[in-house]
Symmetry: C2
Subunit: 337 residues, 2 copies
């Protein structure tokens, strides 16, 4: 959060000198310990050991810089995913914002449920209802219009439990990890089950990940000349679901190389970690974030109705993936401002 986010914000408002000073402080600190929000437990040691192996020239485990690809799930891995995916909170807010233009929604599910705050009825609408919500709120506009709507929403919306902007509910240890990997020649990608165009408008500022390094689910777009202006128009049709077995497909489509490190937190990340680590060849790194901290964040795993970590937890034991116990392994979860 601190370094990238604040630096960019400051630079934008002209306070470059202050931000540069902050950055110097941050990097001085980073030299002594690149992962200060991690406790000195096994996961931190495993990360550092992996990075030292693949970056040591002449070592049998050395990996040339262009092949140092690391992939990160977003929801629950880089930021909070409870009590609902942030993108769903966005969709619900959009329904409310657009309700006046859609009087028919008062009597039509799942919109009625959203407008009445009836989460039980919304849940009953199931995946079909969810897709309807997404299509109504994410399509039938140009790409530029959608980017604007997302940017405005993310700048103002707040998480109800923590009463903070969602972009401040990113995990400080993971921001340090992203920066540490990049400082060691890695290219860091986000591989989200969420919408690629929902993540891109703010990923560079918040995570230091540029739009071309974001992979995600998508709806179809179409090139159209409108009043002599070329536009990309968002169609209400699913194009690609970047979740579960879709993640390796999305990774290959966008990156074209197999990653050497993958970070996730749920069964939706299982195939991504398998694809990354089960190669029988060179050294690889797989990590799962286990949400164990009901006090500072949330605690959930196998029996959760949401963001379930079950099969992937079993696979971690078999495949030697590192499991982070948030409560025990993270000194800080969020950066206090």
């Amino acid at each position: 959060m601190f370094a990238v986010h604040d630096f960019l914000k400051s630079a934008q408002t002209g306070a470059v000198a202050v931000a540069a000073a902050l950055l110097l402080v941050t990097s001085a600190k980073a030299q002594s310990d690149p992962l200060p929000s991690w406790n000195d437990t096994a996961p931190k040691a495993a990360i550092v050991s992996f990075v030292e192996k693949v970056t040591k020239e002449g070592s049998p485990d050395f990996v040339p810089e262009p092949e140092r690809i690391a992939v990160f799930d977003n929801d629950g891995t880089l930021w909070v995913e409870h009590p609902m995916y942030t993108q769903l909170a966005f969709a619900l807010d959009r329904v409310k914002a657009e309700a006046a233009a859609h009087p028919e929604w008062k009597d039509k599910q799942p919109f009625k449920a959203v407008l009445e705050g009836d989460m039980k009825a919304l849940a009953a609408a199931g995946e079909k209802g969810l897709v309807e919500l997404i299509m109504e709120t994410h399509a039938d506009m140009t790409h530029d219009e959608f980017q604007k709507v997302v940017s405005e929403w993310i700048a103002t919306a707040r998480d109800p439990k923590f009463n903070k902007p969602y972009t401040e509910l990113v995990y400080q240890p993971m921001l340090e990890l992203l920066a540490y990997l990049r400082a060691n020649g890695f290219k860091t990608f986000i591989v989200s089950g969420g919408g690629i165009e929902f993540v891109r408008p703010w990923a560079e500022q918040v995570y230091g990940v540029p739009p071309e390094q974001v992979v995600g689910s998508s709806i179809k777009t179409q090139f159209q000349m409108r009043d002599g202006t070329p536009t990309l128009f968002r169609l209400p049709q699913v194009n690609f679901i970047d979740d579960k077995a879709g993640k390796p497909v999305g990774i290959n489509a966008h990156i074209g190389r197999r990653p050497i490190a993958a970070f996730g937190n749920s069964d939706g990340d299982l195939e991504m970690l398998q694809w990354t680590t089960m190669t029988g060849g060179s050294v690889r790194f797989g990590m799962l974030i286990h949400h164990t901290d009901a006090d500072r964040e949330y605690a959930y795993d196998r029996k959760s109705e949401f963001g379930r970590l079950d099969k992937a937890l079993d696979a971690a034991a078999i495949n030697n993936w590192t499991v982070v116990d948030m409560k025990a392994d993270w000194k800080e979860i969020f950066l206090e401002k």
Copy 2:
């Protein structure tokens, strides 16, 4: 060709010192003239003027480095596309190589036409026949297997007219342009109508463009565990056609920012150049390579049955795109070895 290709080849065989020396010579030369294979005509001046504008800090046309995205068509823009797309030559060779395992092809079009070298019958099979050929030769194998087949073929196949490997039929002026843009903070992407997985295995060595910066057409892939090993399996179904109106869609899907410079050579690149340049805002650059040199390469445009440059040539005049006359504007076309 020279710098990147030879450097990588040499480095791989251990002759690092020689390659490094070559690189020093190349960069010394580049300092005096970054585009030595371009004649001092209008297109070269237009390129240099554009790059100087967008890289000059404080200038109203300045573009921050992360936004310096340049997109290049491949066939006919970076390498020779006549008398047929190289990928088609690959498909025909694959049919011949696999014919023994497919005795039924002897009597089945379009395979019969390929095996008999009957190009007229092949043309008569049309687009449907072409898709059949592609599916038979590009699918029903794992991603890794296909990469291996492409790599082996590109290392040995030769263009019949020039009697050279296809990877030596890349345009030296365009290699210089790619390097010049990168030296000025641009990220260079290939946006090909051809198959993304046909270009990726050699694009880094030949063009200096890594796999994650290649956009192209694709077939569907599926994640499968095979004998306990995760694989991506190539299915005989079209996923995406990255041509014409598909190019802006592919660009947005992969890059997520609008390019500021686009380079093409045919009507297949029209929408890509429109999407890049027609924004009404900041300074942009569009360029078309016009094949005018029947002696050194080929001459074709509006009436060509293949790789037609017609509507895009009209649009160039309206939109102020730079048109390269290969015969007049390029001092060298290929690097003589």
